[in-house]
Symmetry: D2
Subunit: 356 residues, 4 copies
């Protein structure tokens, strides 16, 4: 039987409580590269606090103790999964462990915040979604980019018609390393763009073509994904772990405006171009068609600078306390996993189109 991890009163929070005094108690499993950010953003907030962190590495636990002296540390995740003092489990571990940990958390009545990609396959994701719904628990998949000022601003430009009918989304996301040992570059880097496209583009992709190559350990370290959407919208993602330079550039073409999002820029992340092309003239023959170009001003709107993960953590806590479904829930996570599975299948078959 689980013992109490924390001193003090142990009122177990439930969705729907009054927001006033409610504090979601978070247990974080995994304190590697991303874990510290998760702890920092859930900890000491108005309505959430991190009560325990679990990691197998003594070194990682020592880092927890140094930075967050008040938080309980353990190398046994069962302690967290079964503790009555924890309302929410954040799963910040390698992807192949997500399913097992999230399932245990849900079974123990805890909400789940899980790193992207959600699971290693769609069946796992579906099972977790079903389990959470049955137990009236929330799942949020950490697609952090959806909470950045840049992506939110681009979404506005889509929604308010600034860009006009969408033509394409073309992203380059390359750098040197960090090599993952258990997943290829698609599973590591593409979820960012897949989730952003899922968020920005109203329609859902119909098919995926993926090509790529592995040069070192058998796993693809360079890959190119094409996503076919209805209405001639096309998506393309270029991911690469062996690039000498870091590039985070997305071109988005619309009928009315075009946009460049360079996430490496400190200021001016988004540049909106009043540029375009129009076909004019009669349609008697292609040679008679006239193309007219429009090249006007460029505009770099100010982008909100608040840390995305802080907004995301706060949003999830709000969803739990007020029984709302987050937009980046398990279903959203599942859609991305399905695209990743399709990309993997296509990659293995050297570009064979995989219907979604």
């Amino acid at each position: 039987m689980a013992t109490s991890l924390v001193s003090g009163p142990s009122e177990h929070l439930r969705p729907g409580n009054e927001l006033g005094d409610s504090v979601i108690r978070v247990g974080v499993i995994g304190f590697g590269y991303w874990g510290p950010n998760i702890v920092r953003n859930f900890h000491g907030q108005d309505h959430s606090t991190v009560v325990a962190v679990c990691d197998k590495s003594p070194k990682s636990l020592q880092r927890v103790k140094n930075s967050f002296p008040g938080i309980h540390c353990t190398s046994e995740c069962q302690e967290l999964l079964t503790s009555p003092d924890i309302d929410l489990i954040a799963v910040v571990t390698p992807v192949w462990t997500h399913y097992e940990l999230a399932k245990a958390a849900l079974e123990n009545g805890k909400h789940v915040f899980v790193e992207k990609p959600f699971t290693t396959n769609a069946a796992q994701a579906e099972e977790l979604i079903e389990l959470a719904e049955r137990k009236h628990l929330k799942i949020m998949v950490d697609h952090t980019f959806l909470f950045t000022g840049a992506v939110k601003r681009i979404r506005e430009f889509v929604d308010d018609g600034t860009l006009g009918k969408l033509y394409y989304y073309d992203s380059t996301r390359v750098n040197l390393g960090l090599f993952q040992h258990d997943v290829n570059v698609v599973w590591d880097l593409a979820p960012h763009d897949l989730s952003i496209m899922d968020y920005l583009i109203a329609e859902k992709p119909e098919a995926i073509v993926a090509t790529g190559q592995g040069h070192l350990n058998g796993l693809a370290n360079i890959a190119f994904l094409t996503l076919y959407y209805p209405n001639n919208v096309i998506g393309h993602i270029n991911v690469n772990w062996l690039s000498p330079v870091k590039v985070r550039t997305t071109l988005i073409g619309g009928e009315k405006k075009m946009l460049v999002w360079n996430d490496i820029e400190v200021d001016e992340k988004i540049k909106l171009y009043d540029k375009g092309v129009q076909m004019a003239g009669n349609t008697e023959g292609v040679y008679q068609m006239l193309v007219s170009y429009r090249a006007g001003d460029m505009w770099a709107p100010k982008v909100e600078q608040v840390e995305a993960l802080k907004l995301e953590a706060s949003y999830f806590v709000d969803c739990i306390l007020n029984n709302k479904t987050p937009f980046n829930d398990g279903h959203a996570g599942l859609r991305i996993v399905r695209m990743l599975e399709a990309a993997d299948a296509s990659l293995k078959l050297k570009g064979k189109i995989i219907q979604l």
Copy 2:
């Protein structure tokens, strides 16, 4: 029967003549966007001179007269094709006219300099090659980039082992327009990279996967090509006529060094990075493998600044006068046309792999 276009003695040059006084007399068909550069670079050289230009547009011919008062102007290409005063025909017209014009030139005993892409299909290219060989005439396909200081320098880095074993070639070549009416963006922009890869990479591609989309006139205006090579080398080309910004960036990854070629930079077009990744450790399991990164100096070697087309024109004249086969001959042009045909076929089948 053809009448003489130029005054003065009409000694018809033949390959193998002494270089001393030999001057190749050039007739240029097409004076649109690129024609003026062709004229300028063949004209007034030590061993070549442009004697006539043909274009259907009176406006274009007026431009010839303004800039090159001594050159004969005509709207009838037959005049050039049959003139005994012309040794070399430069075909600077839309691609669907290349075959017919080049064939007529060869049949009339003239060498041929032809714009890229060589022809609209491989059969045409093969016929022209066979005809030229039978008549002991030279064909050069204008893959200008192969004569730039940048590409020549990169070739040196391949040849002398600086880059080490090649991993990938990944090029982004996008901008707003210029829309072509008769070809899609692949035939317009990809020949540059295809010919550069043909020049840089020792092995030949085995298969092509192409995806893309057309948003305006039915022809693809955005496309993504993947080329599979032996030994895990992979090539990728991103071409787009609807980009708000002009990008001309190629990443080349090698085992020893990595390279970024940004052709838009005035200086520092090539940056060579002493960066890389190595797999180390035992091979008992993928999780135990250690990746070590190397991130050292960057070096931007000085790149020759001579106009590429000037070097190319001079090289072709030299090939004719000394009976040498240019490396960018009809066979090189044919290889590129075969890749374009494969890309088109794959594009139509939404990424179906096409073996070369």
Copy 3:
């Protein structure tokens, strides 16, 4: 007595003629680095044509013949200065020759287009202005930058109040070479910014402080100018012939908006920032003063791309034909020469302030 340089009718044009058939006949003295641009832009225009070019170098004259076969060439500038077939003399020679040539041209009844800087000292400029006025002739000093789309756009932002009260103009204009033998870097590069400031800033500078150093031939190759204006406006110019990189960047600070003009950019030469600082709070003590920052959108307005020199040439021809005084006339040239003289004096005295 001067002989006719050109065949055909020799009607000498005079200001005020009907614009219909009037053509200003231009003689260009000097065909070095900038001369070809002058010839190209005055030649073959609707209302101007270049009839003769003079240069001491046979090589330069050969270049004229190659590019402009119809233009008379000579090495004797007297031919041009006294020819009845020339209405306007363009003086495109080293600065120390401007006075003598312009004076001769004016004395012979010809309008004068003269390179910047106008003359080597203010007395010469004053004499030329007086002479031109007496003879009802026009002088234009070639401050080409005033006709660029960028400078005209900035002027609009000043005039329409976009920038608000002006705070500073701070320009960096550095590159490697070209070393001038007869003038220091201030006389070579600073006239650009001095004329732009003269054009943009309503008030005139009150004093100049200049510092700098010469490292090779005794003439300053690096220099820094500060211009004090009324109302706390300050100007600063950094010029340098020994910079490894070319920089052409001007910061302009205003109360309402700030601007960066990067003339090396192909597109987006001007970036307008909605940024600023405001002092608020009580004035009881400096420590209580609150500074509030405003950091909003950035906007890169489209800038006209027409060649500046073409507009300038056409404008001068229009001024002559319609008897209008160009804004970049001798008086404007004189103001710049006075600033250069003051800068030189200050430079020699290591920053001693020189009142204007």
Copy 4:
């Protein structure tokens, strides 16, 4: 009498102790913008630990408690200045308080680490230096930039002759804010470059010319400094609190090589250019002199990435423990203060040269 701030044994460390177990106990006064970095870098090191922090603001003290739970907090600086448990006082307060606090620390037998600029005038600096020497205590002035990988690498290029004879150092250090209330932009931003020049250039400056202007609160918010050195070396610093963009670019010209240091770049902070100019030919007259340009490769050497302040803190601790004089000691701080005083004097007199 001071009470012990910390529990546990109170062995007071003295210079010359064996390094083995020695730990310098640090008290930090001031926990505003820079203080947290000071605490973080002195705390938990092998040979130093922060035992107490003092700040007048309860909010700041709360931040200390959150981040460093074990450190004693107080709003009374006397507690730190007189505590027997403190060996070293770090003065991280506004410049006008440096003298008083450092003096009290020294009088109480404590070493002093003090923010730049050292003091508000030279007399104060001289008194502190004399006091420290009399009491055998160390002073280090926090010129952090001297411990960056970039500055250390540039120093190597100076020392090993890579750059050749130095021609100029020209720095632009501009951004929006942060406005200081007690000092002008010269005292805020120029110490960085002044200390870097002091470190890089063997000779000392002979005179300073400064110009500038204040637009808001009477204090200069934009200023330009020229430093005259022996042997025609010249220095220039452009500082500005009202720039819409952040610039941190320094050009360094040498006889053999030239260098651009862009501190905003994440990688490739330093670019070394094999570029230069040589005067050749006879010396009969300036017009006959030939200038030859050399424009070769560019090289961006890898630059050490360790946090500069960490190295600086560790270096000061080592100096104390081993009785060594830091190169950035009080004398170095005094030299910078003298330059700042001279700059201020020149600024007030609109560029009047001030001899050093």
